[in-house]
């Protein structure tokens, strides 16, 4: 019996009803939602281009208010609380995130375009895990090997990207609060909604007013937060371009800075690798979150002896990837976050073709509305091509080959970035040999894009400096 198409997965949409979208959102300052003074902007669902809500555009005056509230909360309440009392609040936040996980997941998928299975299974559980982890540190800071009595810095100004909105918030807010700092956070312009829901969670947790302040807006708002004289610590995750501006802006001030910027990670597959799992790792490395991952494995370096086999298996695997409605539970690849980002991915992909690389995508129908891009691989890529050097930040993989381990190391490190790398081999000794030579903050062995709150994360070279996560992540928020 012919069975082609016998098992077409019927649509399995996650319900939107769990989310209570308001028509407009204000700024969260001093424990209250307040009107912004500079008008508003729209945030859209990238999968349908529908406007989800109007969000207040914060200006200098709003940032002033927020920093003042954070300073007050720092001086009068938060820095005076013993660690175990701070921990209670942070644990409470973590539990509320878990309780409201479905709501957060649906809202994240609506605003960001990422598939619900990722927001449900990765983003939200990891965000809760970060709060749990750093809550545990709050009363143990003297034992973090950072001095006998490390002190908080004061007010932290934090600017986060659109690719993992709530998770990046958690990476920033959890250690800051655990260490006794207060926070002014600016979420990304295209994805402010889960941060605003997080503000509600802070209220629900009875967090003292002013400990967490959320000021929405665009680039200028972020610059106001970073440049504000009342901010003691700047933490930024985003593009290398903006990271440079921030480094310049804070140069010569007393502010401490951590930057987590772009990447062009190499994923190295050796001939003795577990190939089936390596193919999965390649897929996770570049197609997870539509490739909107700073540590994405966007350069596949595969040993020539198995290159053809690996690429064949990869193509077969890519045929089963499901692109479409982010709220369908069977969607693997959702929407590109914005028209602007989609244009950038298209431009770089066209450059790849123009430079002579071979482009391939599985046959897949993209929705008519919304911002979508088919999973794409380029073969025949050389180190000199733009698609091998520039961060695409989309579901586009460049495939290169190598002949010897030494050549693999040389090519992998031949980049301006250094955020992450992956190694696939059955030889434990080779994993260690490579990990010592990779100029990358994270080296994954026989896995990729695996995150855990206990593990430090951060870059070499143009991928930034400072570490987030783990014991190392405390250092960024303490005067040591």
């Amino acid at each position: 019996m012919a069975n082609s198409g016998i098992f077409e997965y019927a649509p399995a949409p996650e319900s939107r009803s769990v989310v209570d979208l308001k028509a407009s959102y204000g700024l969260f300052v001093d424990g209250e939602f307040t009107e912004g003074s500079a008008g508003s902007f729209k945030t859209v669902n990238p999968a349908t281009e529908e406007v989800l809500a109007e969000v207040a555009m914060g200006d200098d005056a709003d940032v002033d208010r927020a920093v003042a509230a954070a300073r007050r909360a720092y001086d009068q309440v938060w820095s005076r609380l013993p660690g175990r009392e701070r921990a209670k609040y942070i644990f409470r936040i973590a539990r509320i995130i878990q309780e409201r996980a479905r709501e957060l997941a649906v809202l994240e998928s609506l605003d960001n375009g990422k598939p619900i299975r990722e927001s449900r299974d990765v983003d939200i559980p990891l965000a809760a895990a970060h709060f749990f982890y750093y809550a545990g540190w709050a009363d143990k800071l003297p034992y973090a090997n950072l001095g006998p009595d490390p002190k908080p810095l004061g007010v932290a100004g934090q600017v986060i990207p659109w690719n993992f909105p709530l998770l990046m918030l958690a990476w920033k807010v959890a250690p800051a609060l655990a260490c006794g700092n207060t926070v002014v956070l600016k979420p990304a312009e295209t994805t402010p909604l889960t941060a605003l829901l997080f503000a509600e969670i802070c209220q629900q947790a009875d967090l003292p007013p002013g400990v967490v302040n959320i000021v929405t807006g665009a680039g200028a708002t972020g610059a106001a937060v970073v440049g504000h004289p009342g901010v003691d610590k700047v933490a930024f995750t985003g593009s290398t371009e903006v990271g440079r501006l921030i480094a310049k802006q804070v140069a010569g001030t007393a502010k401490k800075v951590t930057l987590e910027l772009g990447g062009k990670a190499a994923n190295l597959v050796f001939e003795d690798a577990p190939l089936e799992q390596a193919v999965e790792g390649i897929v996770d490395g570049i197609f997870f979150n539509q490739g909107h991952v700073c540590c994405a494995g966007s350069r596949l370096l595969v040993q020539e002896s198995v290159a053809e086999e690996v690429v064949d298996r990869l193509r077969e695997r890519m045929k089963t990837l499901r692109v479409g409605d982010p709220l369908d539970k069977n969607t693997d690849i959702g929407a590109i976050n914005s028209a602007e980002q989609l244009a950038k991915i298209r431009t770089l992909s066209e450059a790849g073709e123009a430079e002579g690389a071979t482009r391939w995508s599985p046959p897949c129908e993209l929705p008519e509305r919304g911002f979508f891009f088919a999973p794409t691989i380029f073969t025949g890529v050389s180190q000199a091509h733009r698609i091998a050097r520039e961060e695409i930040f989309g579901p586009v993989l460049s495939v290169l080959t190598f002949r010897t381990p030494a050549e693999a190391v040389e090519k992998a490190n031949n980049t301006a970035y250094g955020l992450s790398a992956g190694v696939w081999t059955d030889k434990g000794s080779r994993i260690l040999w490579l990990a010592q030579r990779m100029r990358a903050g994270v080296v994954w062995a026989n896995t990729f894009n695996r995150f855990d709150p206990t593990s430090p994360f951060g870059g070499y070279k143009e991928s930034g400096y400072g570490r987030e996560g783990g014991r190392h992540g405390l250092e960024a928020y303490l005067d040591v």
Binding site: G5, I6, F7, Y9, A10, P274, Q277, D426
Partner: protein, 313 residues
């Protein structure tokens, strides 16, 4: 290729140890991810009916009697007496001495008779006994033989011995012009590592297996999703290299419709739709069928009917 390799210990070792290794963490993660697919409404209806058609309804007890086997056959032919659109199962799986009873009960229905043979479940008997066991079942009319491999020989690296036994049983399946399909049980719960599962899969296929089957159901763990995933990848790769398609049968431990659907998703996304057919994929199970029937009713009527509305075996 097959015959030559089956006789050449060194060649077999080179081939099996040259297969790409399996990373256990990665394989488990892949299986878990496939298990999160959400199969609803029309897709679920299709999946449930397909799963019913793939069931090898099994009774392998010392207490089996002709009456018990006849009852099971009746159930396999018409699982839902009041619902004529419910398909029959693929086969009834019994011990060799029950083959004549099952054969008579199933005559003319299209439901096959599968017999376990070769000193099932341990396989600890001389080859002559195993072959006699097989021939008796085949002569009695078994359409399919489920044999066990010699796990002791496999684990001690005597791959040629395992392959020769499989080839000999395969020949016995063809006694006197019969052509019984051979399912080779790897007993993956005793093979311990995923690399072993992959090697045993290739060994069985090279030696002539028509199907590779996870477990006897007498050893824990029996079928698991990651192990079945590895076997599906193996049959896919084997067909790509040799052109010959081999079936896969997870057996033991699959008790719910939800689990069965996870297996079908795994078939669909690894081996591919060519295997989504009772000729190429089976579930060895006894209690699974009733849950499939309950879910089938739930989907048709919108309410759960309860265990009194499906028949006990």
């Amino acid at each position: 290729m097959t015959a030559q390799l089956a006789l050449d210990e060194a060649g077999l070792r080179r081939l099996l140890h040259g297969l790409p290794p399996v990373d256990q963490v990665g394989a488990d993660a892949r299986a878990a991810k496939l298990g999160t697919r959400s199969i609803k409404t029309s897709a679920k209806a299709q999946a449930l009916d397909l799963a019913v058609r793939m069931v090898d309804l099994t009774t392998l007890e010392g207490a089996d009697t002709p009456g018990k086997v006849r009852a099971l056959c009746a159930k396999g032919i018409r699982p839902e007496p009041d619902q004529p659109d419910c398909p029959s199962v693929a086969a009834i799986c019994v011990y060799g001495d029950m083959v004549p009873t099952a054969k008579a009960a199933l005559a003319g229905t299209g439901v096959k008779v599968a017999a376990v043979a070769t000193a099932f479940p341990s396989g600890r008997a001389p080859l002559a006994v195993k072959l006699a066991d097989t021939v008796a079942a085949v002569e009695a009319g078994a359409d399919e033989i489920d044999m066990v491999i010699d796990r002791g020989a496999f684990l001690s690296g005597r791959y040629a011995l395992v392959a020769e036994e499989i080839a000999a049983v395969k020949a016995a399946c063809r006694t006197n012009g019969h052509d019984a399909h051979l399912k080779v049980i790897l007993e993956t719960g005793e093979l311990a590592t995923y690399d072993n599962v992959k090697r045993a899969s290739w060994l069985a296929m090279l030696a002539g297996a028509d199907f590779i089957k996870t477990s006897t159901g007498k050893v824990s763990p029996a079928a698991t999703l990651p192990v079945t995933l590895l076997m599906l990848e193996s049959v896919r790769d084997f067909r790509a290299q040799t052109g010959r398609q081999v079936g896969v049968k997870p057996a033991g431990g699959i008790r719910t419709a939800k689990d069965a659907i996870k297996y079908l998703v795994t078939v669909n996304e690894t081996a591919g739709p060519d295997w989504l057919d009772p000729d190429w994929f089976r579930f060895g199970a006894s209690s699974l069928l009733n849950d499939l029937l309950l879910q089938r009713r739930k989907l048709a009527t919108g309410v759960y009917s309860g265990p009194d509305y499906v028949t006990v075996d």
